[in-house]
Amino acid sequence: MGLLQNIIFGVVTGSYIAIAAIGFTLIYGIVNMINFAYGEYLTLGAFIGFFAATTFPIPLPVAALVAMAGGGLASIVLARGFFTPINQTGPVPLLLTSIGLGIALRNAIRLVAGREARYYDTETTTFRFDAIPDLSVGSVDLLGGFFVTSEQLIVVASAVTVFVAIHGLLTRTDVGIAMRAMGDDENLARVRGIDTQLIRDSVWVLAGVLAGLSGVLLAIQTNVNATTGFSQILQILSAAILGGAGSPYGAILGAYLIGIVLALSTAFLPSGMSGLSSAVAFAILIIVLLVKPSGIAGTEVREA
């Protein structure tokens, strides 16, 4: 497979990581916590979508909407139950609570849904582009024929739709501008009359909705099992930090960078080293942070 094909794989991976990373980074910037249980929200969304699509046979887009609603509901219920009561204790107790909550959720999902992987029933059309010539440099083919599946196109299109919607929300609506204001300065936000708890709740719902969608897209690409989301949490976290923690636009950039680097390192590292491909993503993270500690799009690191 040529470079072009692997970049397509990377863009697809980057797309569902980006959707989740936006939710993750909004929680970081506005609620001021790192939510390590966030991967489990993806798993929940993927299962909700799966059972919705199979129990009552409904079309996949409707099942995805059900998963988004379910993700949003789960997120706000969990936040109200576990995070809001200890909101004043600061980032570290919140982080530790989220790690514990993640373990509990993961095992609860395994108990209820079982260990086996489940597959969404999708019809896939594959579009092939074989006419593109090879352009070999050493062992690497810089062009080469490639294919895209209809599923991959859906993943990318969903991501682009989410980006436009999030941009609109954050720049055009009162609640979105209030979210950004709160990320800047919570005390000043209160002085201006912003109900900070209401905004926090909105962020939780939004992050849950995004996790639900990301989980369904991830599951369509691969499968859904109890660790579907957990296996992505480090990539999501890296994308968010890489982009400048708290910045949704940075998180998008970070996600595509991570997705493409993962795909390329899987494809082009010598076969004995392919297990290191996720390490490569983190090597990039470390290098970027050494050069620009606030991340790609970050202007400041929020005070803890």
């Binding site: 720049t171 009162d174 501008i177 209030a178 950004r180 204001a181 990320g183 800047d184 300065d185 005390n187 000043l188 936000a189 209160r190 002085v191 201006r192 009359g193 912003i194 109900d195 900070t196 202007t299 400041e300």
Partner: protein
Amino acid sequence: MSLLDVEDLEAGYGDIKVLSEINLRVEDGEYVTIVGPNGAGKSTVMKAIVGLADCFSGTITLRGTNIAGMPPEEVVYEGIGYVPQSNNIFPTLSVEENLRIGAYVLETVPEERKQAVYDRFPVLADRTDEEAGSLSGGQQQMLAMGCALMLDPDVLLLDEPSAGLAPDLVDDMFDRVDRINDAGTTVLMVEQNAKEALRRCDRGYVIANGENRFEDDGEVLLNDEEVRRQFLGG
């Protein structure tokens, strides 16, 4: 009844008491300043009024309503506009978005008030879409005042508006405060630059160690032997 009445106020943060007994009143249309040495608790008076500091006892009455202990997101509905000393704008929001948040508690952004802010501070009108964090210190101070004015408050609280400004901008800032007061807005201002503040205000309070020390017309305080010797450096 005064517009704003602070009686026997004891306030601070958590377990720490900063104000032990503060009394002050502001009449409708007045321009009142609070001066005093560093650490006297001047800013804490402001923060207690808007709900950012904890009120332990005493009352803060605005047009007859006791607002002591009310959280900031509710105080704003009572008609108080507050401009903190620092961190008084949202740096990653544009100038326009900052003004929009200034009117957050209203159903719609009042266009004529926004235009009035831009007329008052034309330099902001040229930079509506720029990030507020990229403005100079003086421009940020103007934006912060503009945000507070978006609600057409009954009383405008200014916490050291001249702090951090280049010396040649300080006079300009005081002129702007004068004009805001002349246009009918009641002003309560805390200032480090005591002489200039007393020269410009109607009435002044000198506070030290969290207590009232002197209270009189600005000019009178400015010429008072005792005040000059203790607080104005002779």
